[in-house]
C-alpha cells in the first residue's frame, strides 16, 4: 500500500478510535455513577 493511502487510513482509524473510546468510556463511567447514586442516593 502506498504511504499516502496508509496515512489516510491512519487518520480515519484514529478518528474512529477517538469517537468510539469517548462514547464507550462515557457510557461506562455513566453506569458506575448511576450505580453509586442507587447505592448512596
Amino acid at each position: 500500500m502506498s504511504k499516502s493511502l496508509l496515512e489516510k487510513l491512519a487518520l480515519f482509524a484514529s478518528g474512529l478510535v477517538f469517537v468510539a473510546a469517548a462514547w464507550f468510556w462515557t457510557a461506562q463511567i455513566g453506569d458506575v455513577l448511576e450505580t453509586l447514586r442507587l447505592a448512596y442516593g
Binding site: K3, L6, A10, L11, A13, V17, A21, F24, Q28
Partner: protein, 158 residues
C-alpha cells in the same frame, strides 16, 4: 454470527477440564497472561511515547519502533494463548458478559490497527510521514490498548 457453539465447545474441552480442575495451573497461566500484558503495555507506551517525542528522543524512532514491535508480537502471542486457556475455565460466563465482548472487539480492532495500518505505515522513514499523523496514530494506539486492558479488568466487576 452466533459464537455460542464455540463457547459451549470450549466449556467442555480438555483445556476447560484442566483449567477448572487444577487451580495451580490456572494461576501460573494467569501469571504469564499478566506478565505479557505488562510487556505489551510497556512496548506500546515506549513506541508511542517515542512517536510523541516524549521519551528516548536521543534514539531514532525507527529503531525504537522496530525493537518494540518485535516484543509486542511475542507479548500478543502469549496473551492470546494464555487468554484462551483462562477463558476455558469460565467460557459460558464470558459468553454472556458484555464487557468481555467489548474487550474482544477492542482487541480485534487493535490487532487490525497494528498489523494493517500502524506497522505498514511506520516501515516508511518517519521523517517522510506527516508529523501530526504520527502523533494521532500514537495517541490512538495508546487509547486502543488501554481500552483492551481496562475492559479486561472491568470483566471482573461486571
Amino acid at each position: 454470527m452466533d459464537l455460542l457453539f464455540l463457547f459451549e465447545w470450549l466449556d467442555t474441552s480438555l483445556l476447560a477440564q484442566i483449567s477448572k480442575a487444577y487451580g495451580g495451573v490456572f494461576a501460573v497461566v494467569q501469571m504469564f497472561h499478566l506478565l505479557a500484558m505488562a510487556m505489551l503495555g510497556g512496548m506500546v507506551l515506549i513506541g508511542d511515547l517515542r512517536l510523541l517525542n516524549v521519551l528516548l528522543t536521543n534514539l531514532p524512532s525507527e529503531e525504537v519502533i522496530n525493537n518494540t514491535q518485535r516484543w509486542f508480537n511475542v507479548a500478543l502471542l502469549v496473551l492470546v494463548i494464555s487468554g484462551i486457556f483462562m477463558s476455558s475455565a469460565v467460557a459460558m460466563k464470558l459468553y454472556y458478559n458484555e464487557m468481555f465482548w467489548a474487550k474482544m472487539t477492542s482487541l480485534g480492532f487493535g490487532i487490525v490497527f497494528v498489523y494493517l495500518i500502524r506497522r505498514p505505515l511506520l516501515k516508511f522513514n518517519h521523517d517522510s510521514i506527516k508529523p501530526w499523523v504520527l502523533k494521532l496514530l500514537a495517541v490512538a494506539s495508546i487509547i486502543v490498548w488501554f481500552t483492551v486492558a481496562a475492559s479486561g479488568r472491568w470483566i471482573g466487576f461486571s
